[in-house]
């Protein structure tokens, strides 16, 4: 079954390797550029000795060169989804072409077949996810130093969540494929559903996976704990009256200097840097949990309901 599982997944595995290779081809040159700039243009040295605001020039220069590239890199969020759904193809094609009947009438049990048919893509997904995490973490290392891991561009790629994303996409495609037995349609819809789920979780769910902290302070001296923190919400009151609403401030490297701020009372709901791993693991757990349920469903539907 091992040989059979591998041989029938060979093409898709090569496609995924190709995608990763393409990714590497895109990321490696620019990554080297950024790493060089980061070290040789003085940012590393600067940030090591003084806090962010003091390095404004160096940082500004870096951002000028690379920020748009880094922002574009957010589109890579689609890659775990793409890889996940593609790896489901051999399973669905087996159902679509009726060759599963061939497998079920050899001498192995259905369970054994299922183990191989689902186990292999899961294994491949895990390996691909690991490769992506390594690649992206390296690529975004300068950004991690600058903006911290909670910055959404970094958060999506440099922790364990990529594992959850890839498995989830795979599981979606497997579940849809088990029901529809049509590879092209299942993969397409699964990919779209992955995209929608990602957006939903990003916007509505992520902030609340771990209880955020609250901070109230006065004046323009932003507490250091807010550096590179992820702001869930904030507002500022002057004499009890709301004067500043959400989205008015950038914390971190830019200092917003204005005397009026000294009297404003800021209420901030945030996740500090230390929440990175709890958030990562919870979100990973969420997606992996969904993946497990979907895979269990696909397995059950295929063995109990299909003939």
């Amino acid at each position: 079954m091992t040989w059979v599982g591998w041989r029938l997944q060979r093409t898709e595995t090569f496609i995924v390797v190709g995608i990763l290779a393409l990714l590497a081809a895109l990321l490696v040159p620019t990554g080297i550029q950024m790493a060089n700039a980061y070290h040789h243009d003085g940012l590393a040295a600067c940030l090591a000795t003084s806090p962010n605001p003091a390095c404004a020039n160096a940082i500004g220069g870096f951002r000028q060169r690379f920020q748009s590239l880094l922002d574009l890199g957010n589109w890579f969020n689609l890659v775990p989804g793409l890889i996940g759904v593609l790896l489901a193809a051999p399973f669905i094609l087996d159902l679509e072409h009726g060759t599963y009947r061939l497998a079920w009438t050899q001498s192995i049990t259905r369970k054994r077949w299922l183990l191989g048919k689902i186990g292999m893509p899961v294994g491949a997904a895990l390996v691909a996810a690991a490769a992506m995490i390594v690649l992206f973490t390296w690529w975004r290392s300068s950004s991690i130093h600058l903006d911290g891991r909670l910055d959404s561009g970094n958060y999506d790629f440099t922790g364990t969540v990529v594992i959850g994303y890839t498995l989830f996409a795979l599981a979606l495609a497997l579940a849809l494929g088990a029901i529809w037995k049509r590879a092209a349609a299942s993969i397409a819809v699964a990919f779209i559903a992955y995209f929608a789920a990602r957006i939903f979780v990003d916007i509505k769910v992520r902030d609340h996976l771990v209880a955020p902290l609250k901070l109230i302070y006065k004046g323009s001296q932003h507490p250091s704990v807010l550096a590179n923190a992820h702001i869930v919400s904030m507002h500022g009151d002057l004499n009890g009256r709301r004067v500043i609403g959400d989205g008015g401030f950038f914390f971190g490297s830019t200092k917003f200097a204005a005397p009026r701020l000294d009297n404003i009372v800021f209420h901030v709901v945030y996740h500090p840097q230390s929440h990175f791993w709890p958030l990562q693991l919870t979100e990973t757990g969420l997606f992996v949990g969904l993946a497990v349920v979907l895979i269990a469903f696909a397995a059950w539907w295929t063995t109990a309901r299909t003939a």
Binding site: V4, H97, R101, T105, T109
Partner: protein, 302 residues
């Protein structure tokens, strides 16, 4: 468990939604026999075969292969049964050699030498891609896959329906050679009766999920008669024999009967009936008297 029957079913039935694909099917297929399963499309042939191989769980009744349940005892039974599904599914982008490797990986009783010898005998090369073979060649590869497993029971679901006459003959020839070599039991479903007579020794007819006839072909042909005579009613004949089909013109009556013993009634002229006529009669075919006709089996074949 030593059972003389290769397959034994008892009240076997399968329901899909509100309709029964197969109902109350009780049959016994002896070891070493070559049995034809005949009936129009939708009669339940595939459903029956799927339940024998364990692909489908019965709704009612039981099925036993060599005395074991094909689903519950799959691990023991599956190696002894080979199944070639309709349109002989194979992995189209594998090479023949890889398809055999597939068979070897999934069957403990695989005989690689036999498989290789058959492929050579067919004039095919291990490097050819399955998808590039003709329909006849693909069916032969599917058969090779089935026979190399060294089964005791071979189930073929409409194996020759999509093949040209030459490919059909070659396929059946290969099956017959396997029976001669290993004494395997064969059940093949078909809606073409003509060729089955030389290849099969037993026949089962299915129509609308029900079995009507199950017996040896020699016995079936010997026990059926066509009686023709002046127009009369069939009652006197029907008292002794089973009237399968009756038709009347103004002056003549024709009866197809399954005789219980000798037909003594001298006012009837007796003729032998060939197998195809008998089967058609059982499946409901009424020669043109305006009543609804079940389509001729040969027409369904196209």
């Amino acid at each position: 468990m030593n059972d003389t029957a290769a397959i034994r079913t008892s009240g076997l039935g399968k329901r899909y939604g509100s309709g029964w694909a197969l109902r109350d099917c009780t049959l016994e297929i002896p070891r070493g026999s070559v049995t034809a399963l005949v009936g129009p499309n939708g009669a339940g042939k595939t459903t029956l075969l799927h339940m024998v191989i364990g692909l489908v769980e019965p709704t009612d009744g039981t099925v036993e292969v060599f005395g074991r349940s094909p689903r519950r005892d799959a691990q023991d039974v599956l190696p002894r049964i080979a199944f070639v599904a309709q349109d002989h599914p194979l992995h189209r982008n594998l090479r023949i050699g890889e398809m055999l490797h597939y068979g070897r990986s999934l069957n403990p009783s695989w005989n690689q030498g036999l498989a290789v010898a058959r492929i050579e005998q067919l004039g095919l090369s291990m490097k050819q891609k399955i998808g590039q073979l003709s329909g006849g060649q693909q069916s032969q590869v599917a058969l090779t896959l089935a026979l190399a497993k060294q089964p005791q029971l071979l189930l073929l679901d409409e194996p020759v329906a999509s093949l040209d006459p030459l490919a059909r003959r070659e396929f059946l020839n290969a099956v017959m050679a396997a029976v001669a070599d290993d004494g395997i039991t064969v059940v093949l479903s078909s809606h073409i009766v003509a060729e089955l007579e030389r290849v099969c020794d037993r026949l089962i007819t299915l129509a609308q999920g029900a079995t009507q006839m199950d017996g040896s072909i020699a016995e079936i042909v010997a026990s059926h008669r066509l009686l023709t005579g002046p127009r009369s009613d069939a009652a006197s004949v029907a008292r002794v024999h089973n009237v399968i089909r009756e038709s009347h013109t103004e002056r003549q009556t024709t009866l197809l009967v399954r005789a219980n013993g000798h037909v003594h009634d001298s006012c009837w002229e007796q003729h032998e009936v060939d197998l195809e006529e008998i089967v058609l009669a059982y499946l409901g075919y009424q020669p043109g008297n305006g009543a609804a006709q079940a389509p001729a089996l040969e027409e369904i074949a196209s």
